[in-house]
């Protein structure tokens, strides 16, 4: 509206430098180099270590690195043990992430209810993920200990027998998965909970009036809202599970036999026991490729969903 009595507009207080910085439209030729530099700084160490994987090289031995191109990759991919490690890792990732997904979800649904002491329980549930993985590994190792362990005591008392958790391949894998699940289900819970809080109230009201059952409401109203965060949680957990080292190392050192020898354990051995730096780099890159392929599929799904969900109102 025309404000006829207005004095001519004037600058009342000098605007902060910060405001002006954001205000001014940075020309592309100024923004682009900054971006390129920033991205470059992040990519450089990546490419450099990629370079390393084409060399036969050991940090321990003074021999000059020797360029062997795909040699490290070839010998890795030709090694049946590596394929076994991939299998073991896959089993671990599937088991751990699957369980974390289910339990994290369940906990989130539980804690989305109102009840007394909810906040305390929430804080406590977040505690495991705040603990050092090494410590968690140590705790669980102790819990599983057949002689002193608490679990053995329970199964002994309840069922009259003890499971030698860490001494048989299958139980050992389960044990490692359980430890990781204990630690990280609350993470999934946290993200799902954030998603649940973001479900628009009016949609829930609509669903209530529609007399939509829990399942329908869940699938059509709740799930689409939390899906992006859920995908993110699964993505992050998959990535982390793929590279989990500390807990496994402390609990089983990859044993019994090679039952819990995942790729990251193999990587550790290559790089820090055998000091085959080049080959270790190559394995690291093989793992990276797998994770990137996995996460890209996730990411594409998640992002598509996010953008779809929020174009809601035009």
């Amino acid at each position: 509206m025309r404000d006829s009595e207005d004095t001519p507009p004037r600058l009342v207080k000098p605007r902060s430098a910060f405001a002006r910085m954001f205000d001014r439209r940075l020309p592309a030729w100024l923004l682009a180099p900054t971006g390129v530099l920033l991205v470059g700084l992040f990519l450089f160490p990546l490419l450099w270590s990629l370079g390393l994987s084409f060399y036969r090289y050991s940090v321990l031995r003074a021999r000059d690195p020797k360029l062997i191109w795909g040699g490290n990759y070839g010998s890795l991919l030709g090694d049946p043990d590596i394929w076994t490690r991939f299998g073991t890792t896959g089993a671990f990732v599937l088991g751990a992430v699957g369980l974390q997904f289910v339990l994290g979800f369940g906990l989130a649904l539980l804690l989305h209810q109102e009840f007394r002491g909810r906040k305390v329980v929430l804080s406590l549930l977040l505690a495991p993920m705040m603990m050092a993985p090494v410590a968690v590994g140590a705790f669980f190792k102790f819990i599983y200990d057949p002689t002193f362990g608490v679990l053995g005591f329970f199964t002994q008392t309840l069922f009259g027998f003890e499971v030698s958790w860490l001494e048989r391949p299958f139980p050992a894998m389960v044990a490692v998965i359980l430890a990781d699940t204990w630690m990280w289900s609350p993470f999934v819970m946290l993200l799902v909970l954030s998603g649940l809080l973001a479900v628009p109230k009016h949609l829930m009201e609509m669903a209530q009036i529609d007399r939509a059952g829990r399942w329908l409401t869940f699938r059509n109203v709740v799930l689409p809202q939390i899906k992006p965060l859920l995908m993110l949680a699964v993505l992050l957990r998959t990535m982390e599970a793929f590279k989990l080292f500390d807990t496994i190392w402390v609990m089983t050192q990859g044993g019994p036999g090679t039952a819990t020898e995942t790729l990251s354990v193999a990587l550790y051995r290559l790089g820090f026991q055998y000091f085959k730096t080049g080959k270790a780099s190559a394995l690291a890159y093989l793992m990276l490729i797998v994770v990137i392929v996995l996460s890209n599929s996730y990411l594409r799904l998640a992002m598509r969903d996010v953008s779809a969900a929020h174009e809601e109102a035009s």
Partner: protein, 358 residues
């Protein structure tokens, strides 16, 4: 049996008293309208009936059951929200089918009902699309469709036609009335639109600041408003009000005219009289006025042409009055002196203290 009964329902949002002791009894199968200006509490009232809003005080009864503390799902109501919210992740088809899904309606029936509803609302072309690609009016029709696609004891409509054009609205009004007749359910309809409130319902409740000012059949509300607020609010253009004096015999006297009324049980003294623009007949001076009509002279202040009628603003003493001249054969010019007349029974007398209309 699905009469809706509100007993002393109150709801406050912080300092705002959105509902303030609402008493309302909507009969089973009635087409009921809530009329009132913006912010008066219509939406809050409907939401309270639906159960998505809990009243601070009072009870809500539906079909003889106290549902005050029941969740919406157990009240068997269908509702069109004012914001015409739709499930963003479902297509229009799915949005319409949704309320049927959990009712064990077979897929063939679902298909038939959805398609019939869509056709009725003229949104068949949008069925496969997500809601966010619809135009405002299309969205609103889908929201209406979501309510009428299913059977419910009580239907709640919150301004369901606001984004539609006149013809579509007309059509929808007719359809809603037909549906209501066929289903025999109770239907409560909130609107700020007088035309809707006057043409559709069996009864209309005029709300004022969170409580019911008058609750009667529409014509009754129009012809016999009980409160100054209702008299002033209902009618478009609004009623003209003039200061007057009432004597003990029921005779009122304004600056322009005097006339005999039926307001005999009112305290004599200063009062307000009202007369509707459409009850005023404006004629060039000299034309004969009907017998037993009150008539007086006035000067034309402004004339506004509104298509099928002219809105004439008149200077009457120190006041302005509006009148509707629907006789196209006569045109008035500003400054012209005219003769104004009305039937004395069309005069309302209002007690300025109690604001009651005699």
């Amino acid at each position: 049996m699905a009469e809706v009964h509100l007993r002393d329902v109150a709801k406050a949002f912080g300092p705002t008293q959105a509902l303030d002791g609402v008493e309302l009894r909507v009969e089973d199968g009635e087409f009921f309208c809530l009329l009132g200006p913006s912010g008066v509490g219509k939406t809050t009232l409907l939401r309270t009936i639906a159960g998505v809003e809990r009243p601070d005080r009072g009870e809500v009864w539906i079909g003889g059951r106290d549902v005050t503390h029941l969740p919406p799902a157990e009240r068997d109501v269908a509702m069109v929200f004012e914001t015409y919210a739709l499930y963003p992740h479902l297509t229009v088809w799915e949005n319409l089918a949704y309320p049927l899904r959990e009712r064990r309606v077979g897929p063939i029936d679902i298909k038939r009902r959805v398609e019939r509803t869509a056709e009725l609302l003229g949104i068949t072309h949008t069925l496969g699309r997500p809601p966010q690609t619809l135009s405002g009016g299309e969205m609103q029709r889908v929201a209406v469709g979501r309510a009428i696609v299913r059977e419910a004891q009580v239907y709640l409509f919150d301004e369901p036609l606001s984004h539609l054009d006149a013809q579509l609205r007309e059509h929808m009004r007719a359809e809603l009335k037909r549906l209501h007749r066929e289903m025999g359910s109770t239907l409560i309809y909130a609107t700020p639109d007088q035309l809707e409130a006057m043409t559709m319902p069996d009864r209309v409740a005029v709300l004022r600041a969170g409580s019911v000012a008058q609750c009667d059949p529409p014509l009754e509300v129009y012809l016999r408003p009980k409160r100054l607020f209702v008299a002033r609010y209902v009618g478009e253009p609004p009623m003209n009000f003039l200061d007057a004096d009432l004597d003990a015999s029921g005779k009122v006297k304004t600056a322009a005219f005097a006339c005999r009324t039926k307001a005999r049980d009112m305290v004599a003294g200063a009062c307000l009289v009202g007369v509707r623009p459409e009850d005023l007949t404006v004629a060039p001076t000299g034309r004969p006025t009907p017998p037993d009509a009150v008539s007086f002279a006035a000067e034309v202040y402004a004339v506004e042409m509104c298509g099928d009628y002219d809105l004439v603003t008149l200077t009457v003493g120190a006041d302005h009055m509006t009148a509707i001249a629907s006789d196209h054969s006569t045109r008035f010019a500003t400054g012209q002196t005219v003769n104004v007349s009305f039937a004395s029974e069309r005069l309302y007398v209002i007690d300025p203290v109690t604001e009651r209309v005699a």
